[in-house]
Symmetry: C2
Subunit: 411 residues, 2 copies
């Protein structure tokens, strides 16, 4: 049993390194991870050197240290972000490093903390890391996000499981979602990417003018950016290396037109943001902009997020995910966007990915804005899919055709 787990863990590390960020010989790999994920991080580091990495730079963090800061530091500590640190990320991106985030977030980490502190800290980081983010958000460099369980996270996902089995239960769910249980995970991923590519190609041929969403609490029309491109799992960096930015991934996604969203949309899963949960919320849009915000839980956190800057009140991503998928079939709410967004159609408020429109990778931010893309310091996905969601594709002539029915593909 232990051996079996070790084998899966090593497969997962290999998948993250070889398929996720796809580390190339001579490249630097930057890993961000919590210290509770050390056993997995060490496997990733070893694997990266084995495939030829020149250097693996691990940026460790610790939830307890983070929480202590939010509880005890003076307010001014949350309005600054070290310039040298931002410079470091930028230098490494310029040097074509690959960036792997290993997340294990406790969804309640910052529960009870003043929302202004969280908003200020995220904004300060967003401003400082803007240049670095332009590298990942244009796919100039390879980047990927994978998750490993932490005790707090596992307890949140499996409150009815005995405490000593919660982490194992979450590992099982993660291994299932990332195809680690299959005989040849790398081959399974290749096949999976091809399947998603088929959907993206279909949508790219259709060139819909807009999408219309209808469901409980949702009646939204969203125009797509001119020249938009639907993207699936496999991305390509500036050097031509293929990487997979999210593992798992079940989505195809593109960029909406900044000012083209109207109507109301309701969340269908809790959103974990900034160490807090935002639940049962709805957003009303007029000409692209959020004009009303409702939430049963986490309203202040959501308001602060949307108030980060001008662009945080507009959409930056539209993603289609069938309601039936390996992840949603587990029937688990992960309280973690990496999983929950891949079990559900979703949108993102904030910055659009430049690579989602023709020629976008080469555009600076001003050109992106002219092309109709939203820009912002933030990019936060939220889940809107369910078994009761219908989506129509709207052609330029205003005619509609069914795209999803009852949450699943109608094509």
């Amino acid at each position: 049993m232990i051996n079996d787990f070790q084998v899966k863990l090593e497969r997962y590390a290999a998948l993250a390194v070889e398929v996720g960020v796809n580390v190339q010989p001579g490249q630097t790999l930057v890993v961000t991870a919590g210290i509770s994920s050390a056993p997995f991080v060490r496997m990733v580091v070893k694997k990266a050197y084995e495939v030829g990495a020149k250097n693996v730079h691990v940026e460790w963090n610790d939830d307890t240290v983070t929480r202590t800061k939010y509880e005890l530091a003076p307010d001014e500590a949350f309005t600054e972000y070290p310039q040298w640190r931002a410079q470091g990320w930028e230098d490494m991106a310029k040097d074509n490093a690959a960036f792997l985030s290993i997340i294990a977030a406790n969804p309640d980490l910052l529960k009870g903390i003043k929302p202004e502190r969280i908003a200020n800290a995220n904004k300060a980081a967003g401003i400082a890391l803007k240049t670095w983010r332009s590298y990942t958000m244009s796919d100039k460099v390879s980047w990927s996000i994978v998750a490993v369980p932490s005790m707090d996270w596992a307890a949140k996902v499996f409150p009815d499981v005995a405490p000593e089995q919660q982490e194992d239960a979450l590992w099982d769910a993660i291994f299932a979602a990332t195809r680690i249980n299959e005989p040849d995970p790398v081959a399974s991923w290749k096949q999976h990417i091809e399947t998603l590519d088929t959907k993206a190609s279909f949508l790219n041929e259709k060139k819909y003018f807009a999408l219309r969403y209808t469901g409980p609490g949702t009646d939204l029309t969203l125009e797509l950016a001119p020249g938009h491109i639907w993207i699936s799992a496999g991305s390509e960096n500036a050097k031509g290396d293929i990487f997979v930015a999210n593992m798992p991934t079940e989505e195809v996604f593109t960029a909406p037109l900044r000012n083209g969203t109207n109507g109301v949309v309701s969340s269908t899963k809790p959103l974990s943001y900034g160490g807090n949960l935002i639940k049962d919320f709805s957003l009303t849009f007029k000409d692209g902009k959020v004009v009303d915000i409702q939430a049963e839980e986490g309203l202040e956190v959501l308001k602060n997020l949307i108030g980060t800057d001008d662009g945080a009140a507009f959409l930056g991503e539209v993603a289609l995910v069938p309601h039936r998928s390996p992840i949603s079939d587990t029937n688990i709410t992960f309280y973690n966007t990496l999983f929950d967004e891949n079990a559900s159609c979703h949108l993102a408020i904030g910055k659009a990915y430049a690579f989602c429109i023709e020629g976008g990778k080469e555009m600076n931010e001003e050109q992106q804005t002219e092309a109709g893309l939203n820009t912002s310091l933030v990019h936060v996905d939220f889940m809107i899919g369910s078994a009761e969601l219908d989506i129509d594709g709207i052609r330029a002539d205003g005619s509609a055709e069914p795209l999803m029915r009852g949450g699943n593909w109608a094509i």
Copy 2:
């Protein structure tokens, strides 16, 4: 029992924060630590915020990740150090941050690694961090080093103790050496610093021209820098805050004259350097410079260290420690310089501390050199004290008086 340990641990964290680096309200504290030291680090972080720190920046590392790099990375990875990281240390020092190193080093961490890799990495770091080190080595900023056990380190120190009790045994030894077992550790430290100050004052009045060491394998004469100042435990940063750079500390120390050392000196304890042990070694000096190197173990590592740069072949510190001290009374070889150097007279090869001569804190490196101080990228202490070591103080007129006999103060 557990409670008692927790109480001691919290006292130790408080001592490190309030006496060691003496964190001031509004100040940033930079902590470097291994992830295995997390429980202690978290206490330090909490304590620092409680006494008013604006921010605590923790730079984590992991022995396994470090070892994996030395085993698997290509050679070129060891000749570079990230500029942005060096800039970060410099920025924080400029901003008057305090620097606390929490060490838990495995003395055999890099055993079997090619010595060139270790030497190259240390040299690259030394060059990149030169400006930052000028802040600590001139006491412009507060800095301190404390130790906590790790499993590997404890196993090395207590090979005959049952494995599950080794860490506890090392904690006991550390608590004893740092006066944590006494009813009021902060008061004990104040008294201890006063006692050491008495010795430093005596030596500062004597203004010896040189020291002469005689013992088994040792016959050395070492001239002191003109205007030298003997320093004891309490240091003062540029703002006038008092801090204690090493905990424990039993030494009084000053700077030798760069070109004034002649004769031979033999080590009396193993030296842990760069993850390797160097044992039973001797150095022969002519006009300050090492002209012969012998070692029973670790010769290559020692040769690489002394070959780092010109100054690595000259002395930068001379420290007097009685053979009878709380640490040496434990009769434990710690395989860790922080402890072993405080149970034994020692010297350091490499850079001298600028604050060890009159006006030194305000001198740039060129002025320090003119004043007779050694400069180098390295500063590495090694132990030469024993129950058989005699030291004479030599006056300017050549006359001698006994300073230490049989390893203990003769004054």
